[in-house]
Amino acid sequence: MAPSYENLPIDDEEFDESQIDFTDLEEQYQVRLDEGLDAFVVVDGLPKVPEDNKAKLVKFILRKLNSVGKVKEDGVYMPLNEETGQTEGFAFVEYSAPSEAVAAVKQLHGTPLDKKHTMAVNKLTDIDRYGREGRIDEEYHPPEIEPFQQKEHLRSWLGDPDARDQMVMFRGDKVGVFWNEKEDAPEQVVDRENWTESFVQWSPLGTYLTSIHAQGVQLWGGKAWSRQKRFAHPGVNLVDFSPNEKYVTTWSHRPLQVDENHPVPSLSLEEDGKNYIIWDIATGKPLRSFATLEVPTSTDAEGNPVKKKMQWPTFKWSADDKYVARMTQGQSISIYELPRMNLLDKASVKIEGVMDFEWAPATPKRDGVRTYEQLFCYWTPELGSNPAKVGLMSIPSKEVVRTRNLFNVSDAKLHWQSEAAYVCVKVDRHSKSKKSMATNLEIFRVREKGVPVEVVDSIKDTVINFAWEPKGSRFVLITTAEPLAQTAVPPKTAVSFFAPEKVKGGGVGNFRHIRTIDKKNSNAIYWSPKGRFVVVATLQSQQSCDLDFWDLSFEKPKDDKDDKEKELNANLQLMATAEHYGVTDIEWDPTGRYVATVASAFRHQMENGYHLYDFKGTLLREEHIDRFKQLIWRPRPATLLSKEEQAEIRKNLRNYSKIFDEQDLAKKNTANRQVVEARRRLLQEWLAWRESMIQMLKEEGAEIELNNGKVRTDHDGEVEEIEEIVEEIIEETEEVIG
């Protein structure tokens, strides 16, 4: 029967629309209509004056009110209290446009009028909305203190009995955290689909895993990988943590849009139009927000504007999270004090021409300086007849503790050593004709009295990369004869190693060149986080992909010592060379035991995946994974062991390593046993299945199949035998008999 509409109930009597309570939905989806009162603001907190002074007061506040917009003629209504004959201390103000009212709220709210009075400016609609009768409870209720909830231990991963390290891998749309298992497949801790939208990042001490979303940033951690914090910042692009994980900066290239119609959780109107937000991680609240500064656009030789790369991080943190600073290029450095985020001494530090600055990565220990200080290093280019300058400034005193004048400078880069013992200023210098380039290294010995500067000017070429040994006093640099141009074939490079001379008394002598390796393609230097070992690599090159593993303290047999190297605190040895096609990133694990090299799909689509090496350069594992994007080791916080305890461990290393070797062996044996078991099972299953198949074929009488597919023909019986006689003459001798 075709469906008919006749027997459909026309009127469902049991259903009455008016019976449904829609109030919850109405409240949730309440549409804010234009009430025609958007141009009104209420100014509160005004002094109460008698009628005679009213006009004067109106005039006074009008001056302020008109600074953000135009108040309509007779737009100020200040009611009088009939009983006292005085004004009520508030006024209604009508602007000529709603946008001006918004601006007034934003800029004038909280403006002090005199010592006693502070102006409170609110939109009339807001007062109506939030202050209407019933919306505000007349009685005071003390805020409820939520019962304490035990949180997960955020550092539980450090308690791994085998002291393995964790790493995060981002491949395809999946993000997973794994234990490093050396040769074996990494053991999965957690793996989630679409955990992040653009990339992942660890916080500097490894406590949190950061995921980036269109709405903002989330921090994850603990054993269950639950969400620890979220920071709403729509359109966020980049994230930067303070070194001790107290604060985090988020940045978006798009200015934030926060207003009544686009509310963002935990952000206020204050953040509207800003690009940077600095957050307190513990509370999850924004501390202060900033807009991007316009970088002065320079022009190149032909007058075309040069596209400036944005410096990241823009807000640089001092080593102890106490200060954060931003440079206004060419003018000043603004230093803010945490946690209030107020400008230090209420003024930026004016440094004319400043090009770059870098905080000391550790709290410096200068000779003879007992008071607390943080240092940063900056440089300014040549300005008119003034030479270029490199300076060290001490904070909070803002005292310049050392400067140095330089000439013919085209560029400078600042490299701090990890313990802030040295800062090396790599100065690219041009000749008078500006044709050829050379590099000088100006090394400030921060810890020594008066901060002496040592100059390494033996380098004839341009230095394209430089790296200090972490916690050490040696460094590696890469030079090239030609400037780096965007040519198809990058020019050959040379890798040079430097170390300080040995001096009596155990001090650090002058820096001396150890060795240079020519005709390389290398362009990247990766020191082990514990020093001594360094990987010199060629990244993002079409032609080569070498990884050289160097040891700077190689222990040679005693008699085989180079005289030259004897005087130096180094003994250079190339341990291994490896190749990883298409390598884009290199990551040392935080203990300096393993190196992961990554071919990331962020850069190219060829052979994405990772290789895992030990510090000696032995390949442990390689894995190709489609759309492999990131592998990052989980950082570890600083050790809690004292110097003595560490020395004790080092002394007994032999005993420990014996135990570890045994453990490794045991583990390998069990693993092998499992593999063998699995294989045995597979073999048995297969043989059993084959047996059943052969049985089946026999029952079916499948002769051809049982004979491996050969069809018996009549000829098969009559085998033709062909006898082949091969004679091989081994030796031929002729003898004359007789």
Binding site: W686, G709, V711
Partner: protein, 341 residues
């Protein structure tokens, strides 16, 4: 042993086959010519001329008397192996992508291409094994693939089933008598073409290769996936080796992408996996284009591969190939030897 390079073709190879005794290799390529070679030294025995277009497929009957070929000239042809005489030509509306004889050689199937207005089909002809006899012009069975066209097909043991691999990555089982579809399974990833289907010697199981970078062994009667071999490149062919429990996979970057990728990226290698443990045990380099087909000597003593580069490479296995054994296999072999004593 050094491989023998057969360089008689002018264009990309499409299929290579050993004769049942393994003494002769038949190769077809896009250059319209069928070649026969001695497998032990690579000497060319002869050619079969007649096709008017690229050749896609070749098969030889179990007695090495009849040779079947199919190609882009929309014909399937039957030749006398010994003389090169053309015995029979069947015409179709579209190209013939695959031919295969039944285990007893009395049936021949052909897979035809799907093209404008014509669905892909699998056709079966009854064959008289006598080269002098007249062959039937009419097919004995015709299966029309309405969902996804068949790309490869073959007869199971006793010619009971016809197993076909499809363009959408599925494998189906037909009753070889009635043509009824018995079963269809999505063995490979969806819309990843099944590129090859080769049989074990007793035809109770077979291996499929696919563009989804895997090869799988399936049971002929249940279509259950028994083994999976994962490679890092799209696969064109897979073969099961007799004697030793290995499989050989061949493939590489698709021909059209080769010019945009470097040779090291092409992955033009034959890969050996252990059939039972599914682990890769070795690779053989040599081709400079993708491998279009790998075939194994029926006695398990060698294999040959036909490449997009126009060469056939014939390899004879060395002693280490036969000696290689996993620990558990050795245990088992020793137990067998003990039991036989």
């Amino acid at each position: 042993m050094r491989p023998i390079l057969l360089s008689g073709h002018e264009r990309a190879l499409t299929q290579v086959k050993y004769s049942p005794d393994g003494d002769i290799i038949f190769s077809v390529s896009k250059d319209h010519v069928v070649c026969a070679w001695f497998s032990h030294n690579g000497e060319r025995l002869g050619t079969y001329h007649g096709h008017q277009g690229a050749l896609w497929t070749v098969d030889v009957d179990p007695t090495s008397t009849l040779l079947a070929t199919g190609g882009a000239d929309n014909t399937m042809r039957l030749w006398k192996v010994e003389t090169g005489e053309l015995l029979m030509t069947w015409d179709f509306p579209t190209a013939v992508k695959r031919v295969e004889f039944s285990p007893d050689g009395r049936q021949l199937l052909g897979v035809t291409e799907k093209r404008s207005g014509h669905l892909g089909t699998i056709v079966v002809f009854d064959i008289n094994p006598d080269p002098a006899a007249k062959q039937s012009k009419e097919h004995s069975l015709r299966i029309v693939c309405e969902d996804s066209k068949a790309t490869v097909a073959g007869f199971s043991y006793l010619a009971r089933y016809i197993i076909a691999g499809h363009e959408d990555g599925s494998v189906s089982q037909f009753d070889a008598k009635t043509g009824e579809l018995l079963f269809n399974t999505q063995a490979h990833e969806e819309d990843m073409q099944v590129t090859d289907l080769q049989w074990s010697q007793d035809r109770t199981y077979f291996i499929t290769a696919s563009k989804d970078k895997t090869a799988k062994i399936l049971a002929a009667d249940s279509l259950e996936v028994l083994k999976t071999y994962t490679a890092d490149t799209p696969l064109n062919s897979a073969a099961i080796t007799p004697v030793k429990d290995y499989v050989i996979l061949g493939g590489g970057q698709a021909a059209m992408d080769v010019t945009t990728t470097s040779a090291r990226q092409g992955k033009f290698e034959a890969r050996f996996y252990h059939k039972i443990f599914q682990e890769e045990i070795g690779r053989v380099r040599g081709h400079f284009g993708p491998l279009n087909y790998v075939a194994v000597h029926p006695a398990g003593t060698g294999y040959c591969s036909g490449g997009e580069d126009g060469y056939v490479r014939v390899h004879h296995f060395d002693k280490p190939y036969f000696d290689f054994m996993y620990e558990v296999e050795r245990e088992y072999a020793q137990a067998q030897a003990q039991a036989n004593l």
